[in-house]
């Protein structure tokens, strides 16, 4: 540096570089030595794997150390060596001084992090066995995707800002580093806590993360600058510490205000999953989510109006009680608002009041979330998950939990309730994995009974809208050596069975009310053409009638409460993709609707609620005209 030719900014930058450059050297050395340390303590581990471990260690441990070191040295280092008076009495503004020092600190931090990662990458490439050649194939994003890398960078920015802040008025770098680390840990912990509580739109999370953490960092740095520009603030203690903590605390709370509007999910922005129709048909509860990680329950009128979020994030699978007074749902939300390891069963009034816990600590299923089923008297709710049956009282205490592995119903699935609400019905394969079995469980006596058993393969599919309670349980059983299905009714009282029909379409069975059974017979002529005949049986008097005959194979059937309409989803010959949806009248007329719609239920005799598994939409079908009107989104 030659005298008088350099500007004050360049002079300060030069000084900062000279003072902070050991951090760079430390970065390179640590990156180079880490594999040796790791290898020394990790016998038997592949060196190439160690290189990956090294990257993680660099990201999680060493990088913040660089940032802490430079952030603390930026201002407190000067105060610590007593040189601030010299610098502050030179003709340069405090703002310029602060900007140059903090910028240089950031630049050195960034360089140290980047350099150490590059050294780690180089070593990783070498350790891969192909020397430098493998480096060209080294994919950084494979090891650290963009989001994680950005997240680490933002966290480092927060750590740096907090450390610089404390470095503004603390005289010892080590104290400033400790305070900065503590403060940034607090900020990040509180921030993450609020993020999890606020149920952010996943699409907005990245923008919010950047905005929030960068915003916090900028405000903290601005506070540092303001403090630094105040004469006498350097290397003083009490006041600035209190002020600093207050600022940091308020910053940590800022997301509550800043993103409150992002928390409410609307059906417009949601993917819609399961739905439950109220007994009167006036309301619908839907599981909606922005992605698979943020399901919650929306409640609205059956026409899609007056939509509102009923339950918080991480809740799903609502079920109206038959009296319409409660909605039971499943939650995987911890008290922190984060995803819990276990499930809980809860219930809430349709107006959102009295949201309460019924049972907790329910083991989850690996691939799906269980559906609660409420007893016909609306007093109790049952759910099966993770090999456990849980039966609870809908309005609060009184839970019975049964480990199904220790009962005859090992591997059984929940079928529903008996009509008298006294027994839970379970269905499973037979005792040796063959055949079929229906069991009853008395939650009061906690006793099991085998209601019915068959050696034939069990073909009963789960109901989309099971009846309120079973007097007779429809089951389909596979014929021996032939892929055809016979329909039986099993008495929920004594297990006696009645054969109803042969050659039925599997999955087509529906009970529009406990006294009526509907199904479709599947036939195939000599030319291979398939037809389905929709039939109905009055279980009280045994009378049967045909509703319609349709081409193709019906895979799902839903009959209206007035028994004069049906909605079918059928697979047509020659059409490989998608189900054809049709509305069928009692005269046999069929009106085809767009593909992919499945019935949820009938809000009224002439209105049908359907969900599209292709488009994640819910619609109302006018059963008289066959008009389909999407209501969500």
């Amino acid at each position: 540096m030659s005298a008088t030719t350099t500007s004050p900014v360049r002079a300060i930058a030069w000084k900062e570089w000279r003072e902070q450059r050991p951090v760079l050297l430390m970065g390179v050395l640590l990156s180079a030595l880490l594999p040796l340390f790791l290898a020394a303590g990790s016998a038997g581990v592949e060196l190439s794997d160690l290189a990956d471990v090294q990257l993680v260690v660099l990201a999680c441990l060493v990088s913040p150390t660089f940032v802490l070191a430079t952030g603390a040295a930026t201002l407190a280092g000067e105060a610590g060596q007593g040189t601030f008076d010299f610098l502050l009495t030179r003709p340069v503004s405090r703002r310029t001084l602060w900007l140059v020092k903090v910028s240089m600190g950031a630049a050195v931090s960034l360089s140290a992090v980047v350099l150490s990662f590059m050294v780690a990458l180089l070593l990783s490439g070498l350790a891969g066995g192909s020397g430098f050649a493998s480096l060209s194939e080294f994919d950084l994003l494979e090891k650290f995707d963009g989001l994680v890398t950005g997240m680490i960078a933002l966290i480092l920015v927060v750590v740096y800002a907090a450390t610089v802040f404390f470095s503004t008025f603390l005289a010892r770098p080590i104290t400033a580093a400790g305070a900065g680390l503590t403060a940034s840990a607090m900020i990040l912990a509180v921030t993450f806590f609020f993020w999890s509580r606020l149920d952010l739109d996943p699409g907005s999370v990245v923008v919010f993360l950047i905005g929030h953490l960068a915003g916090i960092s900028l405000v903290i740095l601005a506070a540092s600058l303001a403090l630094f520009c105040r004469p006498g603030a350097v290397a003083t203690r009490r006041g600035p510490i209190v002020a600093g903590l207050a600022i940091l605390a308020s910053l940590a709370l800022s997301p509550v205000v800043a993103v409150g509007w992002l928390t409410q999910l609307s059906a417009e922005a949601a993917q819609l999953e399961t739905a439950s129709l109220s007994p009167t048909g006036g309301a619908i509860a839907v599981t909606a989510s922005r992605d698979l990680n943020s399901p919650r329950v929306l409640l609205m009128r059956a026409d899609g109006s007056e939509e509102g979020q009923l339950t918080p994030r991480l809740t799903m699978n609502p079920a109206f009680s038959p009296d319409g007074m409660w909605i039971a749902y499943v939650s995987r939300r911890s008290w922190l608002g984060l995803a819990a390891n276990d499930l809980s069963l809860r219930a809430v009034r349709p107006d959102g009041r009295e949201d309460h816990l019924i049972a907790e600590g329910i083991p989850p299923e690996e691939y799906w979330s269980p559906f609660p089923i409420i007893s016909p008297d609306s007093a109790r709710v049952a759910v099966v998950s993770g090999g456990h049956l849980i039966v609870g009282s809908i309005d609060g205490p009184g839970v019975v939990e049964v480990d199904l592995d220790r009962t005859p119903s090992k591997g059984a699935a929940l079928l529903g309730w008996t009509q008298d609400s006294r027994h839970v019905l379970m269905q499973s394969r037979g005792r040796d994995g063959e055949g079929a079995l229906i069991l009853t469980f008395d939650p009061d006596a906690q006793t099991w009974r085998t209601l019915w058993e068959s050696e034939r393969y069990f073909g009963l599919s789960g109901w989309y809208d099971p009846p309120e309670g079973y007097a007779m349980i429809p089951v389909v059983l596979e014929k021996e050596d032939v892929e055809e299905w016979d329909l039986f009714l099993v008495s929920a009282k004594d297990g006696s069975e009645i054969k109803i029909a042969e050659g039925v379409c599997r999955g087509s069975v529906h009970m529009p009310d406990p006294g009526t059974l509907a199904w479709a017979d599947c036939r195939e002529d000599d030319g291979g053409a398939q037809t389905s005949r929709i039939r109905m049986r009055d279980l009280a008097i045994g009378a049967e009638r045909d509703m319609a005959v349709l081409a193709g194979k019906i895979v799902r059937l839903s009959v209206s409460p007035s028994m004069d309409r049906a909605f079918v989803s059928r697979r047509l010959a020659g059409k490989n993709e998608g189900l054809t949806s049709s509305l069928v009248g009692s005269g046999g007329s069929a009106t085809d609707l767009p593909d992919g719609w499945i019935a949820i239920g009938w809000p009224g005799p002439s209105r049908l609620l359907v969900v599209s598994y292709l488009e994640d939409r819910i619609a109302v079908v006018d059963a008289m005209t066959g008009t389909l009107r999407p209501i969500l989104p």
Binding site: M1, S2, A3, T4, T6, S7, P8, R10, A11, W14, K15, R18, E19, Q81, G82, T83, D85, F86, L88, T89, R90, P91, V92, S93, R230, P231, G232
Partner: protein, 303 residues
Amino acid sequence: MTSEHGILIEGFTRRFGRRIAVDDVSLQVPRGSIFGLLGRNGAGKSTTIRALMNLISPSAGRMTLLGLDSVKDALRVRQRVAYVPEEPKYYDWMTVEEILSFNASFYESWDADHAATLVKRLEVPRGRRLRELSLGTRAKVGLTMALGARPELLILDDPTSGLDAVVRQEFLETIIANVQAEGGTVFFSSHLIHEMERVADRVAIMDRGRIVACAPLDRLKAETKKVRAVYPEAPPDRFTLPGLLRVEREPHQAVLTLSGCGPAMMQEVRGTGAEAVEVLDLSLEEIFIETVKGGGSHVRDND
């Protein structure tokens, strides 16, 4: 902006929490003067100087340097004012050459030739690192940095503290030769009274956060005297003389330390019943001690 005052302090007060370090201080330092601020440790000298350099802010009052406000015009002040603190700390890893170059970058008025001359005259080793230098040599580096900028006002906070007598003399001579030759102003604090007496033309005495005396040195010495008054019997129990700093009573005499001492004052002393009056001259050190022990003085510079 031109001002007749190198420094003008009006009602400066500085509190640290409940403690008042400096209380309502007002001072006028004429341009071209060498102004010494005397005071015991903790009297408030460094606090006043740090406020002048905007290193701390005043709790009350206003300060101007060369007509510029110490807070609002801090940057312009620092272009024209050089400051040497009591125990200067520099970047130990820098060489003398580097720190001079670093310092030069901040000043438009930096005179590299002048700085080189000073380095040569003060025998400062340019290539050595600061950590390798003695305290005296480091002080010389600080002085070179201050004077190399050709300041109009030089503020020194007890600059010779800890230096040996030879370096102290060299230091002060250099200041006088450089600053006064160009009509600059020097404001310095010290507890080394003999040196201040040698170089200062105006002096203020500060005690417990207040200015207790302020005047040109000659006037201060001319007006602050010890008067031995001899009485036929015991001296009066109580003296009500204006400017009385201290009384030492003996069986037949009293030794009065008086500020604002003149013929009229002598008349007043005789009026207390004294048979004989003897006037004794005081050195600056004695004036300082008497003033501080007496709890205050009233020699005020009203120029």
